[in-house]
Structures are given as structure tokens and as C-alpha cells.
Symmetry: C2
Subunit: 213 residues, 2 copies
DNA sequence: CGACCTATTGAAAGCTATCAACTGGGGTGG
DNA sequence: CCACCCCAGTTGATAGCTTTCAATAGGTCG
């Protein structure tokens, strides 16, 4: 069983004046950060690294509902408890924000609001992907999501996720994801140095398949 | 072509002090409220009625990404433009909030923030539905979403959506949605007085199929 | 070097999409 | 007021894509 590695590296938050100052913490990869159903006390912010949010069905089917990077927030609640579990994919630096602090700190509230809007937009795109795209298109969308803005054809991406995790994100099975990668390879759109090292040979084709969503 | 019917019924917003006061407006059913790609000026709030947000793929495939009721917000932007189109399903009352007002009005910002969190949670559930549920489960989920809290078996729901709209919401085709309704009817879980009048005979089965998501 | 886990590939089954015909209800025009 | 038309919905048959089950390959770590 993995444990949460928590290491205080000081607070850089200047708008906090409360009894629970924001503390940065570093966590190792593949650590469960919080559980669906646990009491929702704080809103967490990703400072560095990648976090995935997951939901489970009673019979064990899993969906990765969101992938989070620097600036993104998690720890949402509908009522009293978290609606998703969260797990670090890479080594991460996180900050927790007390829910009460949102009422006091207008600058923080504004920043969180802006970020919620961005994440809501990302979820809208994801709904389109899950509801209407083929397996090949979904994997292309996944790759495009990982490509930095100014990326050119020929660059290499590192995947921090297994085929199973990618499948759970895209609403597919791990075999189908693997077949999609093979198909992209066969078409000369990507090259795989290793399973988690993807060289983008034809950025345009990836964009086109992803529907520029 | 349908047009937006706009009827001022006065402002009930007391925290506004800006150059663009919040104005309530009533719109007819099946009216396009805003278009994906248009410049994003205001955030809209549903006061009464139901609104659907949709996204399109270049080839015409459509996804209804969100269904909104009273209190819900829309008009999100990632950059300068709306990421979704919005259309009224029923007759609606709406209020527009100037984006600049969010900076000035802390009470409004707090309310919007809270609502964004609720909608984000709803999107997480929807991702689970779209990514991991069967057709029958999706339709059950859809019905559960429409059932009021204190609803008992035997009550009747009115659907404000066509089979095509439900299909676009659930990531299915209209035929599959129709077959799912027939299957629920065959199992005695629902009864259909008309295509848009659903009597819930067995609330428990609906909940179970929907995975209590 | 071997064990184990992840990924790939193959074959067959299953579910949903697609194509097509038919039904029914509502509205319109005669 | 009735008949017809039109559109939404239902149902059937077939095709296609993804899943499932299974076997093989590759890589990493002890």
C-alpha cells in the first residue's frame, strides 16, 4: 500500500490570513490524494505535476473524469463529501485552500472562479469526446491535449499514464487504446520509441483526427 | 428561423451597481441563446426553465454537454469566445451578469463559484455515464436526473426533449434511446402514456440501473 | 538470468449504429 | 369537421466497431 508523502516546503500565499495557512506539500507519483465519499474540507490546487480524478461504478468500472496540471483545482463536493477520488500521476506539488478562505480572500476566490470556468470548458470538450468520437479520434484527442502550444512535428511526448489509465480516461479498453496507437503508428502519424514515449510525426493529422476540439 | 424573444421584466439584483444592470428576460422554447464561437461577454443564469448546451464536430456530430435548470450558469469561455451553443428547451427566464461585475460584487462571485462547483460535479457524473455506461443505464440515468428528490413510484415525468436530443445528451442514437425506453417499458419499470410522458413505475430499478451515480 | 507486469496482437462475441419500413399523433387545409 | 400530410417515434434487419477472451512479446527489476 502506498502512503501519502507530505513534506512542507513553505507557503508562498500572501493573501491568506487565516488559522490554516496554505501549505505546499510534495507528493510522490501514484499516491491517492483523496477518496470519493470522504468529507470535503479543502480545495486543492495543483502547483506542479499531474493529477487524475476518478469515479467508480458499484461494479468496479472506472472513469478518469479529469486530468489536472499546474493551476487546476480539485476536491469538489456536491454536498458534504468529495465526488471524485484523486491520484497523483507524477511527483506533484500541491496547495490546499480552506473553503472558508474563499469567503474572506477575494483575490483567491477570483482565481478559483476563473480556473473552475477553464475546467468546466475542458469537461465540455471531454463530453464531446466521450459521447461522439471513435477510438482513433479519442486517442488523437488525448495526444493533442498533451502537446504544448508551440510544439512542432518531430517532438517527443512522455506519457505518465498506462494504457489502462488512458483507456479509463477515454472511455475505452486498454486493448483498444493499444490498437489505436498501433494504427497511428501504421499511418506514420506517430512513432513509439517505448510504450510511453510518443514521437509526433504529423501534428496536423493529430489535430485533424481530434476534430480540433 | 427562430428569433430571440426578449422581454424585460425588471431587475431583482440588488448587489449590482454597474453600467449594465442585470435584466431578466423571458425566452420562448427552442430558441438559440448563444453560439459556440461568439465573443463571450456575459455569464448567463437560468432563473426558470431548462437550457441545453451543445457542441458540434466539424462533420456535424453533436453532443449535448449539459442540461441546465434554475440557478445554473452558462456562457463559459476559455479565451475570448463561447465554447458551447445554448438553446432553451422550455420557456425560460434568464439573467445576464456582466463579467466585470464578478470582480466588484463579492456576493455574486461567491454564488457563481458555488454553482460552478455544482456544475463541475454534474459534468464528472456525466463523464462516467458517457464513458462507462450501457445504453439502458444511460437512459435510466437520464430519467433519474429528471426525478425530483421526494418523488415516489407512480409519478409522471414530462420530457421536454425529443429522442434525438436525449440521444445527443447520452452519446447514443435516437433509435437506441427509443429501444431503451421500450425495454424499460417491457420490464415494467416505466410506462409511456405518450412519448414525452413517462410514468415511473419502479423508482428503485431506475436508481439501480443508473448506478446511483 | 528469470519472474512479473505492461503492452501488443489475434479471434470471436456483443452492443450500438445504420439503413429502412411502418406507425401514430397533431396540425393544417379543404 | 374531417381528411390528409408531416414529423417524431417505434421496430426490424444488418453492418461495424469495440469489447472480451486469449496468447505472445517486451522491459524492468530483483
Amino acid at each position: 500500500m502506498r502512503q501519502i508523502i507530505e513534506e512542507r516546503i513553505g507557503s508562498h500565499s500572501h493573501h491568506m490570513q487565516a488559522e490554516t495557512p496554505a501549505a505546499h506539500q510534495r507528493v510522490a507519483p501514484h499516491v491517492t490524494l483523496l477518496h470519493e465519499g470522504d468529507p470535503a474540507r479543502r480545495i486543492m490546487e495543483v502547483v506542479e505535476g499531474t493529477v487524475m480524478l476518478t469515479k467508480l461504478l458499484p461494479d468496479g468500472r472506472r472513469q478518469v473524469v479529469e486530468l489536472l496540471g499546474p493551476g487546476d483545482m480539485f476536491g469538489f463536493a456536491n454536498g458534504e463529501t468529495y465526488v471524485c477520488s484523486a491520484e497523483s500521476l507524477t511527483s506533484c506539488v500541491l496547495v490546499g485552500h480552506d473553503r472558508a478562505a474563499l469567503e474572506r480572500d477575494a483575490a483567491l476566490a477570483s482565481r478559483v472562479l476563473r480556473r473552475f470556468e477553464i475546467q468546466l470548458c475542458a469537461m465540455h470538450s471531454h463530453a464531446l469526446v466521450l459521447g461522439r468520437m471513435s477510438a482513433l479520434e479519442r486517442v488523437a484527442f488525448f495526444l493533442m491535449r498533451l502537446m504544448p502550444e508551440g510544439m512542432v512535428s518531430g517532438s517527443t511526448l512522455h506519457l505518465a499514464m498506462t494504457r489502462q489509465e488512458i483507456a479509463d480516461f477515454l472511455g475505452l479498453t486498454l486493448e483498444t487504446v493499444s490498437r489505436a496507437f498501433s494504427e497511428l503508428k501504421r499511418r506514420g502519424i506517430v512513432a513509439l520509441a517505448r510504450a510511453d514515449e510518443v514521437r509526433i510525426q504529423d501534428r496536423g493529422s493529430v489535430r485533424r483526427l481530434a476534430g480540433a476540439a
